[in-house]
């Protein structure tokens, strides 16, 4: 452009015409290109149809195109922390165990069987002996050992290919991994830790090829090799990750030729891409779009309540919420049903207590959510001595992981509280600043704060947010300073107990106490949703919020 303009000086008239002509030519090309696309016959998936890299068996048709919410950070299962990355990895890799089809319980995957010692310290896994990684290297006990040593042992030669942010969180109790036989591996824990088995099913427990790590070093996240139903083909930055079906998959080959993951951060753009046929399947459909998509006969919408709780942390260290009556009053005063129906348009369900219903065995089915009863709330407030009204400060976030629609939710809650004489002043923060403020404890800053958690097991959330040893100064997330020795004892015991029925009994009891003590306002559990073209078969939204595409096919 600069050079073209400089050339004008030598012979303006002719040169100018040349420039103008070339500009015109470009705009004609652009126009022609538009005409090109106006062809009436557009394949339902123009984005993938012309991509030879993704084409597999002709009879399986085009690869499935998935609209993701963001560009993946990495495809190394041990480096990533976001569900957006997990959604790809779960299709590339397997773990020793995996979640059952419709719950967060575990079933065999690369391990066929396992034994747990009576003291809960030794886990012995028998491995499949018919599996290879996509790069051809064998899957065996040494490969399992390599995976965990690389994450956990700072002296391991490949530990510097990290970081491994969640290794300590999920596998910090692992003292040693031993390859006992070719296909038998043993984990020794430093202390009993009941969530260990289900943590192995979490995407941080997926297993990568040691040969690939040694070959690619810290860039293995862009050159992944697993054992999963799909094989990595290519990753074009900010445009697509392409996988093709693994014809030799140990659990039967997938029914589509491959999968293309496209990062489309704007939720509205994901919806328009689905409507225009640019993608086959999208996740995290915004609340306002769920109903119209549901009414579209070319599309199907699926929903599934997930392991997620949205709640309000109350500040128990200071008035007015140091009084249990005021906390219960808040639970009565907020119309949760209206929040999930009107603000969230049915994309969440009402939560009864601190453990999400999706956890099945750990959830106490006898719990009833606090009913919406402003009359009862006013009585309690009167009893507590705040009948003349009270001012509180309410921390609200602008957005953030799992926070749903925090600002409209905050405003609706504010309106409900005004009805019962509580005047909540909202202070809004950007997500990372919000976490900084709230995680450090809200004493002296706010009386209530929004929060949401999504976890892989029922243990983590109450353990980190409800114990008296988990106050912010002790490194936990009990930002409202709740303390009840009974709850502490139950949580500690449930964490080390390996018998699931015993664990369930303790969690059920804990939930009853916590709901009565009301250190939070229990509000909602998010429903994961996905919308897809009607010809996609065999896809189920999983409670883990992962995206398992092994059984997907086109009709």
């Amino acid at each position: 452009m600069t050079t073209q303009m400089q050339r004008w000086t030598s012979g303006p008239g002719r040169r100018l015409r040349t420039v103008m002509a070339s500009l015109l030519a470009v705009s004609l090309v652009l126009a022609a290109c538009g005409g090109d696309a106006a062809d009436p016959e557009t394949p339902d998936d123009p984005d993938a149809a012309d991509d030879p890299g993704a084409a597999g068996d002709a009879d399986l048709g085009d690869p499935l195109v998935v609209g993701q919410v963001a560009e993946p950070a990495s495809l190394d299962p041990h480096q990533v922390t976001a569900v957006n990355d997990f959604r790809i990895n779960i299709n590339l890799y397997d773990g020793l165990v995996r979640y059952e089809d419709d719950s967060l319980g575990v079933e065999p995957a690369l391990a066929t069987d396992w034994e747990i010692s009576d003291d809960g310290l030794l886990y012995t896994f028998a491995l499949r002996d018919d599996v290879s990684f996509h790069d051809g290297s064998p899957f065996d006990a040494e490969a399992v050992k390599f995976n965990f040593d690389r994450m956990l042992d700072e002296d391991h030669p490949d530990h510097d290919t990290g970081p491994f942010p969640l290794a300590n969180q999920f596998f910090g109790q692992v003292a040693e991994v031993r390859a006992v036989e070719d296909h038998v591996v043993e984990f020794e824990l430093s202390q009993p830790f009941a969530p260990f088995l289900s943590n192995l099913a979490y995407p941080t427990g997926l297993l990568i090829s040691p040969a690939a790590v040694e070959e690619h070093g810290e860039d293995v996240g862009r050159n992944p090799s697993g054992t999963g139903p799909y094989v990595f083909v290519e990753w074009l930055g900010n445009e697509r990750v392409t996988l093709e079906r693994n014809p030799d998959y140990w659990d039967g080959p997938p029914g589509v030729s491959g999968v293309v993951f496209r990062p489309i951060t704007e939720s509205q753009t994901r919806v328009t891409e689905l409507l225009s046929g640019g993608v086959d399947l999208i996740v995290e459909v915004p609340p306002d779009d769920v109903a119209p998509l549901r009414d579209d006969s070319d599309l199907t919408v699926q929903e599934q309540a997930g392991p997620h709780v949205w709640f309000l942390i109350l500040n128990l260290a200071e008035a007015p919420f140091d009084d249990v009556r005021m906390r219960q009053a808040l639970n009565y005063a907020i119309d949760k049903q209206s929040l999930v129906d009107d603000v969230l348009q049915g994309t969440a369900s009402v939560a009864a207590g601190p453990i999400a219903e999706a956890f099945g065995w750990a959830y106490n089915p006898d719990l009833e959510p606090y009913p919406y009863d402003p009359e009862r709330a006013r009585e309690l407030i009167e009893e507590a001595g705040y009948g003349d009204g009270v001012d509180v400060t309410f921390f609200v976030t602008e957005g953030g992981s799992g926070m749903l629609d925090p600002v409209p939710m905050g405003e609706a809650i504010q309106a409900d509280l005004r009805e019962v004489g509580i005047d909540a002043a909202i202070e809004t923060y950007e997500w990372n600043s919000f976490l900084d403020e709230v995680n450090a404890g809200i004493e002296g800053k706010a009386d209530m704060a929004q929060m949401a958690w999504m976890t892989a097991d029922p243990d983590t959330l109450p353990y980190l947010t409800l114990r008296s040893n988990a106050w912010p100064e002790d490194g936990g997330f009990n930002s409202g300073y709740y303390a009840n020795p009974e709850v502490d004892a139950l949580l500690e015991a449930a964490q080390v107990e390996t018998d699931q029925d015993e664990r369930a009994r303790r969690y059920h009891e804990m939930q009853e106490i916590v709901v009565e003590d009301a250190p939070w306002v229990f509000v909602a559990s998010w429903k994961q949703n996905a919308a897809m073209s009607a010809d996609i078969q065999g896809f189920e939204v999983h409670p883990s919020f992962l995206l398992r595409l092994h059984d997907v096919s086109r009709s």
Partner: protein, 316 residues
């Protein structure tokens, strides 16, 4: 001329230094840090400490900055925390995408803006003038992201002519035509707003020049109307337009953020917004330095072009 250009380029260095220090300072001052953003729900102090050690974020801030600066001088932009890859790789890809978008928009803007401006001036007070003047005003007043959404509704959803989002590599299996196909809507949406400014400016500048004596002389010499307008009048009118084109390129690069967001275009603007959200300091630093460098370079280019076009500027 060469000395002038060289001096201007050397002046860029302290600007970039200041910009990078400012970006670093702001990223450090705002609450939240990369380790916390990566860990999300699991940001326990233990996990944060371990991760900060692995990311070398536990060192004193001045050491971090100086290390970054030292590496930068050897062409090493560091490694992005949130993307797990070299910052330079990410910057190159993203900036190429933005340049493609802004470059296409620039072409459309020049064609539309200059043509409309010239015609409006030549046909002053006639219907062509009215149409282009009103059109330019409308173009100026419409926000580009709104126009982008209207484009998607009309041209993608209703007519199905263009894809609604995404970008394909120009040299990939899908070929350059496919890139153009994806480029039409975002580039046009971005360009229309900017064309309004160019059209109005070209019109007023042309009107002024057309009234001058030498133009009348040229016409009375018997030159054709086309030669008078394009060679004699336009050549002089463009001198006032060029610096504004420089500014408009900045506007195109900056305004690309909205367009990139609406169309899912993988440009550098969107990358910066995301990187700030995830507190990815090195990525923000690298991006800011690159964008600042481009701005300075573009302004320099506009000044040089003007100097070439107008000998009076060169002589001063």
């Amino acid at each position: 001329m060469r000395v002038y250009a060289l001096r201007r380029i050397v002046q860029v260095i302290p600007v970039l230094f200041g910009v990078s220090l400012l970006a670093f300072g702001m990223m450090v001052l705002i609450p939240g840090d990369p380790a916390r953003a990566i860990l999300g729900s699991y940001a326990t102090p233990e996990n944060i400490a371990t991760l900060e050690r692995q990311l070398a974020l536990d060192r004193p801030l001045p050491v971090q900055y100086v290390t970054w600066l030292g590496n930068l001088l050897t062409g090493d932009f560091g490694r992005s925390y949130s993307l797990n890859r070299p910052v330079l790789d990410e910057l190159t890809e993203r900036f190429a995408a933005t340049l493609l978008l802004a470059g296409a928009a620039l072409l459309i803007m020049l064609v539309l803006g200059l043509t409309a401006g010239i015609i409006a001036a030549v046909k002053q007070h006639r219907w062509q003038d009215r149409v282009f003047t009103v059109g330019a005003l409308v173009g100026l007043s419409v926000p580009s992201f709104w126009l982008a959404m209207i484009f998607i509704v009309v041209f993608s959803l209703r007519l199905g002519w263009f894809p609604t989002s995404g970008m394909r590599p120009a040299f990939g299996p899908s070929g350059p035509m496919d890139v153009l196909h994806h480029l039409v809507l975002p580039a046009t949406a971005l360009a229309l707003v900017a064309s309004g400014v160019i059209a109005r400016l070209t019109r007023s500048s042309m009107l002024e020049v057309l009234r001058q004596d030498y133009v009348r002389t040229a016409t009375s010499k018997g030159l054709t109307r086309r030669v008078v307008i394009l060679r004699h009048a336009f050549r002089n009118a463009i001198v006032t337009v060029v610096p504004v084109v420089g500014v408009q390129v900045g506007f195109l690069l900056g305004g690309a953020v909205y367009i990139e967001t609406v169309f899912g275009w993988p440009g550098i603007g969107r990358m910066l917004v995301t990187a700030i959200g995830t507190r990815d300091i090195l990525l923000v630093q690298g991006g800011v330095v690159l964008v600042a460098f481009t701005y300075v370079l573009l302004n320099l280019a506009a000044d040089l072009v003007q100097a070439v076009l107008d000998p009076r500027i060169r002589l001063q």
